[in-house]
């Protein structure tokens, strides 16, 4: 199970190259939370939507 409020790149992407590239992109979007393994989280409205639909069906929130 993966914490919906903190989906770290390393936990869900096994390919190192892909992981590095995604981490770079996510870090670039948020200069203040730069990390080698940046987390992505669903915000409350997205979790509400997922709750209603049985799965998250909206675009994810900002990294954080």
């Amino acid at each position: 199970m993966i914490d919906a409020r903190r989906i770290t790149v390393s936990k869900v992407i096994s390919d190192l190259k892909e992981r590095t590239e995604l981490a770079e992109r996510i870090n670039a979007a948020d200069r203040y939370l730069v990390s080698e393994d940046p987390p992505v989280r669903l915000d409350e409205t997205e979790i509400d939507a997922a709750r209603a639909a049985g799965l998250p069906d909206r675009a994810p929130g900002r990294p954080g």
């Binding site: 989906i7 992407i13 996510i26 670039a28 799965l55 998250p56």
Partner: protein
């Protein structure tokens, strides 16, 4: 009969006493990976973080412009450049280490020791901004202004103003700059350390006290114990402490004059 949607989100409500917290878990790893992909590439990031961040990242990485092939090529060039830079850096660091060892010796010590001592002092002062104000301003009259007022009763009342953090730092920095020998630099630094550790701030109201500490306080006390208890530095320090305490009828030099020393 339509199938129920797959369960991908599990929520657990925890009673925290005054409030409930909800832990939410995604059970589908593929879905989580998809979320990460969309977070990285999706339009919402661009909308939320704005064009400026996007441009900053483009400038930093140089990989977002062009087709995916061009991006791949740019990354390849970047990796090759990084590899060359790493080799150069390794070579430079090896040369530096060799030069550092080769230059050691009496001639080098004689030629550069004053500059070295001043460099070390500059680092100490930069990393310990409050050090001079913590102690020296309490023990040196140059860093105090004493205003003596005579009351109608004939009694005298003193008001002491102390130099602030920047003025104290400037004062110590000037003295170090003027030093002619490495030993003089070390002596001035040692004065600052001894005063910083030993000067009693009880003469100041709480709000005016300076907070400074060093993790090496015990070591400094042990190493400089003999320094402040005897010898030339002690005599000078004691004299300066004495001056500041027995100054009841004197008026201290204004900070501005002390700083010009």
């Amino acid at each position: 009969m339509p199938l129920a949607p797959p369960v991908c989100l599990i929520e657990h409500r925890v009673d925290q006493g005054d409030y409930y917290s909800v832990a939410a878990y995604i059970t589908d790893a593929e879905l989580a990976a998809d979320i990460v992909h969309r977070a990285a590439t999706g339009s919402r990031i661009r909308q939320e973080t704005g064009v400026r961040e996007e441009a900053a990242w483009r400038a930093r990485s140089g990989e977002l412009t062009g087709t995916s092939e061009e991006q791949k090529e740019a990354r390849k060039v970047g990796r090759e450049k990084a590899k060359k830079d790493a080799t150069k850096a390794r070579q430079f660091n090896e040369d530096l280490g060799r030069n550092l060892i080769q230059r050691r010796g009496k001639a080098s010590q004689k030629q550069h020791s004053l500059a070295r001592a001043k460099a070390i002092a500059a680092v100490v002062l930069a990393d310990n901004r409050e050090l001079p104000a913590r102690g020296l301003r309490l023990v040196l009259s140059q860093l105090q202004e004493v205003e003596v007022k005579e009351l109608k009763s004939g009694e005298q009342r003193q008001k002491v103003s102390y130099a602030d953090v920047d003025q104290c730092r400037q004062f110590l920095s000037n003295r170090i700059e003027e030093a002619r020998t490495p030993n003089e630099v070390l002596e001035i630094l040692a004065d600052g350390l001894i005063a910083g550790i030993l000067a009693d701030q009880s003469e100041l109201p709480q709000s005016k006290r300076i907070s400074w500490w060093t993790g090496a306080e015990e070591q400094v006390k042990k190493l400089l114990g003999a320094d402040h208890q005897s010898g030339e530095a002690a005599a000078r320090l004691e004299q300066e402490i004495g001056e500041s305490r027995g100054r009841s009828t004197q008026v201290g030099r204004p900070f501005s004059l002390a700083l010009r020393r």
